[in-house]
């Protein structure tokens, strides 16, 4: 146990070679448990799955290397193109909506209102309940006959027909997005609320003295402070949404006519026939897009840091 300060904080005026080395050893030691887990339980399975996607593996038979055949087959299926489009739509539209509602609500909850604390906790409810449960409830709400939403419409006399929210091409994706946003926006709201706490009140005062109105203050003071947290939340939430299975599976199973088909559901269908190579190819096909997303956002974050 060296009683010396960490190397990066110290001017190197003594022979520090041993210290730096010891420091590095400590660094490795501390990060090793996490690394072992990630290599053993994420990296290895990940590369293994990529390997499988290039083979004809089915359950109980290792198969053999078939190159890009699985991907070629996948690209020929009618569902594939729609799946790409739907996944992008789902991620982008729900991100935009979550940003809008999350930020709006965070700004309101940052004001000095009565029962603010209670409401801050209340907002977290959709996020706190199991996703499985949340999306089952939404399916019940969207049920054409006797579902909550159509009941409200008929009891208030707005619409008496049995609107098939999840069964029509025009409404299926919006309905799924609504449920996804409902469940996901609390995370955005609370993250923004947290970031808003870090804005020094003096900055607002200064802007006020300079004669900036509310909108200008938001643009010149609030937004710059939020930029980084927005990037991070967009990144995390996009990954969650792109990988989310329960929302679609429980509400539409990708239907009607693939109007809500997304990658995780397509992969699940692939598993039904036990063709592991094919199912892995579906998931692998999505990885480049996620990599680009992560690369973009981490680069942006790093640029902000400098």
């Amino acid at each position: 146990m060296a009683a010396s300060p960490p190397a990066d904080r110290v001017v190197h005026d003594r022979p520090f070679l041993t210290f730096a080395r010891r420091n590095a050893i400590w660094g490795y030691l501390l990060v090793i448990p996490a690394m072992i887990l990630l290599i053993g339980l994420v990296a290895y399975p990940f590369f293994y799955a990529i390997y499988i996607s290039f083979t004809s593996r089915i359950v109980g038979d290792a198969g053999h290397w078939i190159g890009l055949d699985n991907f070629r087959y996948l690209s020929k299926t009618a569902s594939f193109e729609k799946t790409i489009r739907n996944t992008i739509t789902l991620v982008v539209v729900s991100d935009v909506l979550k940003l809008f509602f999350g930020l709006g609500l965070a700004l309101i909850l940052n004001e000095q209102l009565r029962a603010r604390g209670m409401f801050r906790a209340f907002v977290l409810l959709p996020w706190a309940m199991p996703g499985f449960v949340a999306f089952l409830v939404w399916r019940l709400l969207f049920t054409p006959i006797g579902g909550g939403i159509n009941l409200i419409l008929s009891e208030t006399g707005i619409d008496n027909s049995y609107i098939d929210w999840l069964g029509q091409k025009s409404t299926a994706m919006p309905a799924v997005i609504i449920a996804t946003v409902w469940r996901g926006f609390p995370f955005w709201c609370i993250s923004f609320l947290a970031a808003l706490q870090t804005v020094p009140p003096e900055l607002y005062e200064a802007a006020k003295i300079d004669g900036a109105n509310a909108v200008q203050r938001f643009r010149s003071v609030t937004l710059p402070h939020l930029r980084q947290v927005i990037l991070i939340v967009v990144l995390l939430s996009s990954i969650w949404t792109a990988n989310s299975f329960e929302n679609i599976w429980l509400m539409t199973q990708g239907g009607p006519s693939d109007a809500t088909m997304v990658f995780p559901v397509l992969a699940y269908f692939g598993m039904q026939t036990q063709r592991l190579g094919e199912a892995a190819a579906v998931s692998v096909a999505m990885v480049p897009a996620l990599l680009i997303l992560v690369f973009l956002v981490t680069t942006l974050i790093e640029r902000e840091d400098d």
Binding site: P33, I36, L37, I39, G40, L41, Y44, P45, I58, V59, G60, D61, Y73, K76, T77, A78, T143, P144, I145, G146, Y162, I163, D164, L166, G167, Q168, K169, A172, L250, M251, T252, Q253, G254, G255, P256, S257, D258, A259, F269, M271, Q272, T273, Q274, R275, L276
Partner: protein, 438 residues
């Protein structure tokens, strides 16, 4: 507490990384030796995965019976009831990781896949032995049992869809159920439905129920593929006739809203909610209605599926018990399966489970006088083999799992495609699947 679990945890994860990186069998052996303490036991061990069905009584009876058998025969039994919706995933993971049970229940599609990759034991002797002991197998069950290419499963409870009709509603409209043809179903629906009560509670979605449309298509003379089971033959006038029947009915508003995205419970829920006159169901709705809504149950007529213009297609699914090749003690597993075919147990079991008789001996049970079970008995006597008139092979199973036929219907009723274009697309997509198995 925290400390111990952490250390143990670190130990296991280190091992995980090691095993993963090296794929070392020695390490695996080491670990297994550690995990299973070397307590020598004479007692045989047996794990059984039963299919969880909608009857607590049936599930409990199966569990208790197997455990009792274990006690009587000095076998340590562990019975786990697996939710059938997840059987495929669980079995995939279990095969890949070598953790299959000693025996399990499954349906035909899974049996076919596992037989092809040599995961299931051939049980010809046992099959013959049980058949001989209980008056012989029903012909339809026998045909279905051999579809997998080898006798790898012992049928215990053939099931299939029956047509449920609302007797009260139809009679009020001057109609007497059951309808004889699918055209009747459509015509009667139009005549008798009063929204929110709709006529045709048939799923058009990407679930197992949606594939009932394959049977309807076949009853209209359509075929999925040729007799060799290699070339898809969807693009025919017969398919067009079927498509006009189904899309016309949809355009007339005879399907309850939601039918294009129903999950497996969609038709059940619609029927129990009084939103459908007709549904096709294996019987779980009857159990649910008998318990929660006896009035509805009493007003229900149970019959075989109607016929199309060309034939009546009413496939049976021979639910089987199978033994994975990975079991260490096949004899014990065989002994259990043989025991489970005994008359006393099966009589009690069929009283609470909705299955038809697999063996002739069971037909004499009193329960087969009851309407639903009588319908299942009729199904076993007159039903068609799975997939028939098509060839039931892996390509056919893959085709079904991709819901090509229900999707063909969705393309018209959801996306507004023309019938011709939808058929053309289905033909191409179907052939793409069949080509994988050439």
């Amino acid at each position: 507490m925290t400390h111990i679990s952490r250390r143990r945890f670190l130990g296991t994860t280190t091992a995980a990384a090691g095993a993963a990186a090296l794929g070392s069998t020695r390490l695996t052996e080491m670990l297994s030796a550690k995990a299973a303490p070397a307590v020598l036991q004479e007692k045989a061990k047996l794990t059984y995965w039963g299919g969880l069905i909608f009857s607590d009584d049936a599930n409990n009876l199966l569990t208790d019976t197997i455990n009792q058998w274990g006690e009587d025969n000095n076998v340590d039994t562990e019975v786990v009831m697996i939710n059938q919706n997840e059987t495929n995933q669980k079995v995939s993971a279990a095969v890949e990781s070598g953790t299959m049970p000693d025996a399990l229940d499954m349906g035909l599609d899974l049996q076919l896949l596992l037989t092809n990759t040599g995961q299931l034991m051939e049980l010809d002797d046992l099959y013959t032995k049980i058949g001989d002991a209980h008056g012989g197998w029903y012909a339809s069950v026998d045909a279905a049992a051999k579809l997998a290419g080898a006798t790898t499963g012992i049928p215990f409870g053939p099931s299939g869809n029956l047509l449920f009709s609302r007797q009260d509603v139809l009679e009020a409209a001057g109609l007497t159920p059951p309808p004889a043809t699918w055209q009747d179903v459509r015509d009667w629906s139009k005549q008798a439905q009063k929204p929110p009560l709709f006529g045709m509670g048939l799923a058009l979605s990407n679930v197992g129920d949606g594939n009932l449309q394959m049977s309807v298509l076949q009853s209209y003379g359509g075929r999925i593929a040729d007799d060799a089971g290699t070339t898809v033959t969807l693009d025919t006038p017969e398919t067009r006739t079927y498509m006009e029947w189904v899309t016309g009915a949809f355009a007339d508003g005879l399907f309850p809203p939601g039918a294009t995205t129903w999950d497996g419970a969609g038709d059940n829920t619609a029927y129990l909610a009084g939103q459908a006159i007709f549904i096709a169901n294996t019987g779980s709705v009857h159990l649910a209605a008998a318990e929660d809504d006896p009035e509805l149950d009493a007003n229900t007529n149970f019959a075989a599926l109607p016929a199309g213009p060309v034939m009546q297609v009413s496939p049976i699914n021979p639910n089987v018990r199978a033994i994975p090749t990975s079991t260490e003690d096949p004899d014990t597993a065989k002994a259990l399966i043989e025991f489970l075919a005994n008359k006393d147990f099966m009589e009690q079991y069929l009283n609470v489970a909705i299955y038809g008789p697999a063996l002739n001996e069971y037909a004499s049970f009193a329960i087969f006088q009851e309407p639903v079970h009588a319908g299942l008995l009729n199904l076993v006597e007159h039903g068609t083999a799975p997939g028939a008139p098509d060839v039931y092979n892996t390509a056919y199973a893959d085709f079904s799992a991709n819901f090509i036929v229900p999707k063909m219907v969705q393309r018209v009723v959801v996306d507004g495609l023309s019938v011709d274009d939808a058929i053309k697309e289905a033909q191409e997509q179907g052939q793409l699947i069949y080509d994988k198995y050439k």
